[in-house]
Symmetry: C2
Subunit: 362 residues, 2 copies
């Protein structure tokens, strides 16, 4: 999503949409913090979640939800649709917070991850180990609360019975898919291999369906989309979502931390089983593989070792291969978009999204 | 809940209700496992969740939901109500699985906890530390899935729009309350003190509202209960729920592992900040306190040291004090029940529940 987005068919732009989503999230969490304080409950949960959301994020899922709404003929940004979209961002906060605990990441969006913040805040009077465990436990709970509040945003959105009936199965599917994707990812992390198919499955469930397809579906369903439109959106979304994740995999190893907000060492240190790594291992010479394998999943990986790993990955041709996969998927997405029964306004937004996905640096 | 429950007004007993709830859960999870296998997704998530639910559990929340339904004039066990009730058990699985990860518990219901099972299953090819971390991450994800599927059970229950509208705010409140309660508990664990008020707040949010009040409310709301009935149920449920947790605190230290299915060392080893412990510390002599404090939260606590801790806790009068608190709350619950606008059939069930709460050994 670019910041200089074109005007919507009804004259309102993406910046305005983003501001509306953020207002919903801010107001909801400020209310929650006040309600907690009134009942002597820990208001830091809502406050930390608010900080987490304010620290960044492209709001790509809620904006796609609104775009989906427009593709199916929805006009403007009615509050029930904006609240549903905001619920997707709250759900995403749940995903990221739990992911960071599982990955033991130190930073997110240029700030300490939530579990690190909590560990530091509650360190006094505790051993380092106890504080670290407390940080993880409380972060998991704030993630759980984000998931619960994502539901509450939807439940209080003011949707009609028909809209609820149409959207709930899509939302349930999205949640199940992303959790399956993350499960596959966690099982594969630390044991990267040459299995490109496994890496692509993770890509599809964790990203393509979750980040692109389902948000579009949910928005479109709110405007009463039929199955033909939903299928057209899938045909566009799945290849684009795979391209999105493939770009992410490249950025995770070769990205500039000044842009991505996280160290370009994490994916290597965790031994993420990405398509990039699977291709590198598959096409590496014996010598390259022997050099690369011990660096993947090596928690103490230095900058120099990371540079070596990057050189080997590039030398195997994996970077070029992934760029080719991204281009191919970009082409597929655009050709499906051209054939989709979508008006020029929202089609332009989807086209811009596709361009951005293949070019982004963050 | 006793197993020899009286017949319901319409002739169906609690055993029958429990069987219906279990059938819903079994069928739902078997469908999920098959769907996952068909898509090459990890079907072990649904299978392990199914094992977890089959390993035990009193189904107290779904049975209370059905009882709530009866208090408001609902008849029989229509499938939408049973599915809503089953969703509460699925949600409870989420709570327990995450709690066990946070508490680093080894056993639950006489079996290894889910994160230990997962660590053992995925140990081959991993270091012990990596396997343990994987166990925790995957258990958190299965917990997340249980929460998502609790929603799905409700969404697919076939409730009317009015029922959904009435139930969703209660469900949202229940979820937020139990997560707040668990957050307070996690923050207090390991730093037990003399603060009885803090321990009682944990008791109220984590148990009284979550285990007793909200399940009754949800069932009653499905049958169209008005605010007067909901308030009467609260007046009964809150003291009873506190009694339930106070009994749990006693069982956690003095219970027979053959009945409770978990070692009577866990609460002491974790340094749980229960009302029992707060009272013991408050009324301990200097010598008793000096002996007791180092034993609380001592991960390597031996059986002998646990016996010493139990002796001290008893000697401070804390056990007697907690038994008195249980009796007082039991009396309050019964007196509110007598005044409540509830028919004799469901009133008898609630009375049996109250009796069971104060006497239970598991």
């Amino acid at each position: 999503m670019t910041t200089a987005a074109p005007a919507q068919p009804d004259g309102s732009g993406l910046d305005q949409a983003r501001a509306k989503i953020d207002t919903v999230l801010d107001t909801f969490l400020a209310d929650k913090a006040r309600a907690a304080a009134r009942q002597n409950l820990p208001d830091e949960m809502a406050a930390l979640l608010s900080d987490f959301l304010a620290a960044g994020g492209k709001r790509i899922r809620p904006l796609l939800c609104l775009t989906g709404w427009h593709t199916a003929g929805g006009r403007g940004h009615p509050l029930p649709v904006v609240r549903t979209a905001a619920g997707l961002e709250m759900f995403h906060a749940f995903c990221l917070i739990h992911d960071d605990v599982m990955d033991r990441s130190d930073t997110r969006r240029g700030h300490p991850t939530l579990h690190r913040t909590l560990a530091a805040r509650h360190a006094p009077g505790r051993t380092a180990t106890a504080a670290q465990r407390l940080g993880s436990s409380t972060a998991v709970l704030i993630g759980d609360l984000a998931l619960t509040w994502a539901d509450e945003l939807l439940h209080t959105a003011g949707l009609s019975h028909q809209q609820l009936t149409d959207v709930l199965p899509l939302l349930d599917a999205m949640r199940t898919e992303v959790i399956y994707g993350q499960y596959l990812d966690v099982l594969a992390t630390g044991t990267p291999g040459v299995d490109v198919g496994r890496a692509l499955a993770i890509c599809r469930y964790k990203t393509a369906k979750y980040t692109i397809e389902r948000p579009l579906h949910i928005g479109a369903a709110l405007a009463g989309a039929d199955q033909t439109l939903l299928d057209s959106l899938s045909a566009f979304a799945i290849p684009l979502g795979e391209a999105f994740q493939l770009r992410d995999d490249l950025l995770g190893v070769f990205g500039d931390p000044a842009h991505t907000g996280k160290p370009a060492l994490d994916d290597l240190r965790e031994g993420k089983a990405t398509v990039l790594i699977a291709l590198a291992l598959r096409h590496a010479t014996r010598t390259q593989a022997d050099q690369l394998r011990p660096l993947l999943g090596h928690r103490g990986l230095t900058q120099n070792q990371a540079a070596t790993a990057r050189d080997i990955i590039t030398a195997t041709g994996a970077v070029h291969h992934v760029e080719t996969m991204i281009s191919k998927r970009y082409g597929q997405a655009l050709s499906h978009l051209k054939a989709a029964p979508v008006q020029p306004g929202p089609a332009l937004l989807l086209r811009e999204l596709a361009d951005n996905v293949v070019r982004r640096r963050t």
